[in-house]
Amino acid sequence: MSIPYLTLIVFLPVLGMALLAAIPGTSHDAIRKTTLAVTIAHFALSVPLWWLYETSGAPYQLIERRPWVTAFGIDYHLGVDGVTVLLVLLTTFLMPLAVLASWRYIDRHVKEYHMLMLLLTTGMLGVFVALDLFVFYVFWELMLVPMYFIIGIWGGEQRIYASVKFFLYTFVGGLLMLVGILVLYFYHHNLTGTYSYALADLLAIDVPLTIQLGLFLAFGLAFAIKVPMFPFHTWLPDAHVQAPTAGSVILAAVMLKMGTYGFYRFAIPLFPDAARVLLPWVATLAVIGILYGAMVALVQPNIKKLVAYSSVSHLGFVMLGLFAFNTVGVQGSVIQMINHGLSTGALFFICGMLYERRHTYEIESFGGLSGVMPVFATIFMIVTLSSIGLPGLNGFVGEFLILVGMFQTHPYMAGLSTVGVILAAYRRLDPDRNRHRVDRGLPQTVPRSDRSVGRAVRRARRGHRLTGG
């Protein structure tokens, strides 16, 4: 066994936490800089994955397997396939940006915040590379805790409500999945006489349809909540609105992918017959999610809620592609997962920048931005155009392939989902009306540089606090 590359990737953030622990909690800038350095190093460390993974090689590569709790057949078992490589890179790429986005926004408990961010990274990466269901479950629950605190401590006014809702939703799903894992585990033992949590072993056995159905529902509910699929999505808008910018970015860009990834990696391959039987139901919920998310997004006065509901719509497309059960659809889903991570991540960064300037997420109070912040406005525009799937930008590719794939198997479902394309245009353009409106709130002489605006905003905020306002 050479260097345990994946283990390094997964646990480097924990090393970073140890570093942070050594820095006194009052030296905020040192903490920020250290975290930034760690995350950048982390990204650099993970980039070679792209070349290390051989597209023509075995499906799982860079495998690390060590016995962990031999009595129960638990192995420390990691590995990547092509999809995981992309998701890992997406995660490590976004973390330095998330740290930068927190630079000024987080000014309380700075040390704890950054340690939790690093712990969160480890949790997320563990979920992506685990090939043992027990290890997977541990990481799955591990990533839940830091996010709960990030929303609950550094969030907006209703952060407690949002974080509890987020936690309970996800936790209930997680518990059901645990039951599912255990049932599968014992079923495997009954059949083969050996205890194993290894995905490969569990894939090898034949599970009768009735049991498959139950297990698919147990796993599927956990994943569906995470996606989130209609009607389990209502935690998402609250979590997004309340979370700090970096929290929203990671939630949208990476954590939502846990759900679709779970279907891709576990629920569908483990219980293929059940997936086929339940396809009409899942696909229907996906289509509802696409249309419903787009419609509700349309009437949101709060820009973060708008992006949150549009995520419901985008992730509905991902689910649809996965359940097309053909190469085109699944490839489309994977591309859509990555692209949604990039464009929605960018959108939440943009929301954060707006918030730092205007102290509100109400779309009504924005406007005239292109006059004062032309570069920002241009990027805003490009990102939203990509997000609504304008051909030529990356949001289009995934959606198109998903629909092509779905059309091969279920033309009516695909046709209905295409309506989402129209709705996306409305979603895009409604906030735009306000972007174009001449701004009354900002004086036209507001300095363009990001930094000075932020400083002014913080001074104002501090002033408020001093005067008790």
Binding site: T234, Q331, G405, A425, D432, R433, H436
Partner: protein, 645 residues
Amino acid sequence: MESLLWLIPALPLAGFAINGLFGRKLGDRVVSVIGPGVVGAGFVLAAASFVSLRSMPSAERLLQQTLYNWLPAGEFSASIGFQLDPLSMTMVLVVTGVGFLIHLYSVGYMHGDGGYARYFAFLNLFTFAMLLLVMADNFLLLFVGWEGVGLCSYLLIGFWFEDQAKAEAGKKAFIVNRIGDFGFLLGIFLIFWTFGSVAFADVLPEAATRLTLGGDLAFWICLFLFVGAVGKSAQIPLFVWLPDAMAGPTPVSALIHAATMVTAGVYMVARAHALYEMAPQVLAVVAGIGAATALFAATIGIVQNDIKKVLAYSTISQLGYMFLGVGVAAFSAGIFHLVTHAFFKAVLFLGAGSVIHALHGEQDMRAMGGLKSKLPITYWTMLAATLAIAGVPPLAGFVSKDEILWRTWDGGHSVLWVIGFITAGLTAAYMFRLFFLTFHGSFRGTKDQWAHAHESPWSMTLPLVILGGLSVIGGWIGLPMALGQPLGGIANRFEGWLAPVFEAGEHAAHEPHAIPPIEYGLMTASVAIATLGILVAYWAYLRSPDLPGRVATRSRGVYTLLNGKYFVDELYDFLIVRPFYALSRFAWRVIDDGLIDGLGVGGTGALVKRGSRIVSRWETGYVQGYAVAFFGGVFAILAYYYLFR
């Protein structure tokens, strides 16, 4: 030549990048060289390609270049590839040629505007997207260009975005177009589903074998594609965005909303003609919608007072003619009208822009009049274009419009012919109404405006003169046999040029053949009705200017209906937009907040709370109580084992 095809669209793309990124720093002078320059260079390349296409034998005229495989996914694949056949070549020449002249015109028109560089960046981006659209060798890349032109249209309509109404107009254009795109996408899905490919080379030659004539599949493919065309080309029922699109700068209206983008739907139907020939029912729909739109828009155009609005409805109406042409399977006649329309409608818009420019933004024709002496060049070029669109021989509009009308009659669609015939009269009337109100009579604006009115600079008048000339002689490249034969056997060169593309559908009308006498009869009739239209306009707006007002008061109902544009916008708002928003709000407030969160999540929470309250009542804190419960439990378990085991 073949290996340089990519340069034609790449040039304007480079112009977009340079003007967009560095335009502010480079200064207006450099921008004015780059902006029109890249399009002009594209035209030169296009002309060179045209020469090399002409040198090939007519059946083999095709230039192709594939850059790379863009979307390989499973069995699906689409490439970035370009092709030039006679049809694409024609479109490219129009887009770069007319496009260059309008870019040049913009140098004068937009002079001094704060967003000068941004304007040229967008205009170049538009040209790029439009070239992508007409040069694509597959449906998906065509769709990319299709959406790209829509985006540029949106950006340029809302160019002066400080004005709320203008920003709204841009938004409306984008959204209505998206409804069309929905259809286009479904069409592409169905094409892939049927043919296993989206490349023209795989789909079009296979149409006759894979589709059954008049079958369901052919029907749905063509209908969905046509929905896309209806959106882009502003036909009933999706025409509502085009009149509002006039909020953009006038050269934009000329280029995008008259000469090129809006004709993309016609191009697409012509490009997919092999599919449409398998779906005669859809062709009938195309022809019907085209004729209906032509008449409908013409009736609205006759009561509009905004000079650009008249031209907008006129464009919708002329696009209707083009669809009538392709709908009766006279594909080359439809494309021919597209070309001549690009000439004369560009002049009309640019001329209107020249008038607006001279009057510092005035667009209401009621405040114009007598401008002939102030704007002589504009006057004469506008006259040529107005005569052309009115269908006066031998100008461009007459030749192409009459070809469509004749082919409609010849194909046995006499009702559609009558509609087209009446529309021809209306067209002459409303166009000369515009012309007389603007240039003749006495000036009705302020003294100040009159004093400052002046002819435009050369960069604006030169394009007017060139395009005005083309409006006169441009039609002669496609003289119908009925006129060419007596004139010494001049063949219909335009139809001959496009014949390799459309040969399946065309019955070689460009070959010498016996001319039925009725063709001359119909030709005379349409000249007569055009003359009648002009005379009516002359009578009503120059001889007795109080007549229109009296007519309007006497038939108040009809006038209100026309002036209100048949209240289609209001109808859509009432029937679609409002209910849709209400439903969305219902989904948010009632389903999300009420049912799922309130009953579902909150209900579960409340249930747990109430349950734990009941349970917590047992936790009294008295140890005796717990002891009783404990022993009771032990007793029950023991009893169970002894009694039931």
